[in-house]
Structures are given as structure tokens and as C-alpha cells.
Symmetry: C2
Subunit: 192 residues, 2 copies
């Protein structure tokens, strides 16, 4: 298989590629994650994923570079990473009992050719009704730190979620099934 | 926290409890997984989960015993574990392009009191359209072995799945969010 470079320091994205048999090389990008609020969340996630991929592509040498960016969207508001436990509390209170969307934009850049694709996947996540004590119990785990939307579905955050509609791996940070479809279609590469 | 005994040898179920902060003790049950085709799949999964839990409860001593059983259902047919690669091929061909259900029955038995509960969770899983080569590629990974429905969503089977509706952890073998709701409601135990 060709060399695959993952333009992300996220251990979850690396694990998801490993689950699919890829041993990616990690080169983290160093971009400013600036959000232009004139864009839709989908456009934002795709644009940031491309900025990450192209940033790494310029110094990766060869292979295929994959960039990704995940945003959490409630109604039309993007919920970023909380600055502290108070902000995490208020985000989780907003998410309680409601549906939100998790959108991962991803970009694939072939360093041996002209092909560059950008796509996204969106998953609906439904939180259970949480009371303030449950939210505090979750905050107390510390897991919210550095997580968009203040929760991690692959951790104790699983207990906050009633159900999802769509791709679970997308919520974790990389929609591997859709990514593989793109790799097959545009890069003649099949992870299976 | 009280002692929790998991009446299952499944490493996935153990990992899911660990994700929620529980360090279960494993005592595998030794029952005949007999399927009565007069029962619905939900009844079958719940009944088998209870047989496993009660079997282990008789020798667990104290604590809370959790049993679980997962079935894969296409239309009304339960797809079991494939006997060989040919049967796996035919199951995956049946699942291609279609929705099926993954149902996990679970039972919780409190050894210090009279409370015994039995519940289930159901998740809809939608497979992508797979051609025969893709199915053979998947068979070739060997992952189908010992898996109900001949795939593992937590492995390369992720690439076969277009989307799910419901609880992902239920597809992996234990619906932790619903289980926690039951533990809180009936056993005054909160994993958060």
C-alpha cells in the first residue's frame, strides 16, 4: 500500500485508520483554526480539513495526505472546545435532551498527481435529558477538556448519548467508510 | 463502587464497561445458546442474556452480574455466527445494500437483593452495496470468524457500513447508555 500521511495529531483519527489496516505517518499541521462565520458548518469543516492537508502536503514529500476537521453544531451554532469547566457545563446543558450534528470535513491530496478531493460526512447525535448533577459528574471526569462540544463519545461521553443517526466513526473524527469510498473512486486505493 | 461481574467472555463488552470506568470481573457462562424460533429476536436476545447472567449468578458470590446477548436480524431471520467462509460470504451478500437490526438483550442481577432486570436495545445498521470482490476482500481479513452476522463493526467491518440509527455500542455488544439508565433506576448505581 502507498504511504499515507495523516495531517492530524488526533490519536482517535490514527486509531480509526489503524482499525482499517492503515499505518499512517503522522505529520501534524500548524494552521490557525480560524472560523469564518459567513460559511456553513459543512464549509467550515471542509475548508479547515483542506488547510490542514495542504499545509502538511507542502512538506510531506510523497504519498497521500489526509486532513480532517470535526465540528459540533447545535442549531446553527458551532460549539468549539471549551475554555474551562464552566463553558463545558453550559455547552452540555445546551446539548441536553436535544439533537445536534457532528460534521467532519476531510481532504485527500495525492502528492504523486493532481487529484485533491474534499468531502464531508454529517451524523445526528441525540443526547439524553441530563440533569445538572449528571453534567457535573461528567465534568468531573475531566474528559471534556480539548473536545469540541465538550464530550467524547468514545469515552464516558457514551453515557450521555441516547442514539445517533449516521456514521459513528464520523463522530469520533473520521468517517472511514465514506473516506474509503473516496479512496477507491479517486485514488484506486481500497482499505479492505 | 460495588463489584461488577460480567457474564461474558467477549473482550468488546469488557472494553465497553472499562470505557465507562468499570473494571468488571469476568466469569464466562457455560450455557447452550439454544434459539427457540417461536420467539422474536428481541425475546431470544433477552432470554439468552438472562440465561447467561443467572448461570454465572449461581457461582459469583456477591455483587452485580451483567449478562448480554447480541443477535443480528435481517428481515425476521437471525443470522448467527458463520461456520466457514462460504457461509460468511452468503450472509454478507444478503446484508449488502440493506438495513438489518442488531439487538442486544441484557440482564442485571443484584446478588445482594431481589432485583433482576431484563431489557434490550435495538440498532438499525445499513450496509453499503457491496460487490462480490469487496465481500471476498473482507472475508480474506478473517475478521468474520466467530461474529454474528459475519462482520465486526469495530474492525474493518466499519468499511461495510454506510450508517447506523441508534446506539453504536449496542452494535459492539453492550448498550452502555441504556445499561447505565437501568443501573441508576433499579440499582442506584451511576457509572458517570
Amino acid at each position: 500500500m502507498r504511504r499515507i500521511v495523516l495531517a492530524s495529531a488526533s490519536p482517535r483519527r490514527k486509531e480509526l485508520l489503524e482499525q482499517c489496516g492503515v499505518r499512517p505517518e503522522i505529520i501534524a499541521s500548524d494552521i490557525n483554526e480560524y472560523i469564518n462565520h459567513k460559511n456553513t458548518p459543512e464549509e467550515t469543516a471542509m475548508s479547515l480539513s483542506f488547510q490542514k492537508a495542504i499545509d502538511v502536503a507542502s512538506r510531506a514529500g510523497d504519498g497521500i495526505v489526509i486532513g480532517a476537521d470535526t465540528v459540533v453544531v447545535l442549531e446553527d451554532e458551532i460549539l468549539g472546545k471549551p475554555l474551562d469547566d464552566r463553558e463545558a457545563f453550559s455547552m452540555l446543558l445546551k446539548l441536553s435532551g436535544k439533537k445536534h450534528r457532528v460534521i467532519t470535513g476531510f481532504s485527500v491530496i495525492d502528492l504523486a498527481g493532481p487529484t485533491k478531493i474534499v468531502e464531508y460526512e454529517s451524523t445526528d447525535v441525540y443526547f439524553r435529558e441530563l440533569n445538572e448533577n449528571e453534567i457535573l459528574d461528567y465534568i468531573y471526569t475531566g474528559e471534556f477538556f480539548d473536545k469540541a462540544g465538550s464530550y467524547a463519545i468514545q469515552g464516558k461521553g457514551a453515557l450521555l448519548v441516547e442514539k445517533i443517526e449516521g456514521c459513528y466513526f464520523n463522530v469520533m473524527g473520521l468517517p472511514v467508510s465514506k473516506l474509503n469510498s473516496s479512496l477507491k473512486k479517486f485514488f484506486n486505493l481500497n482499505l479492505l
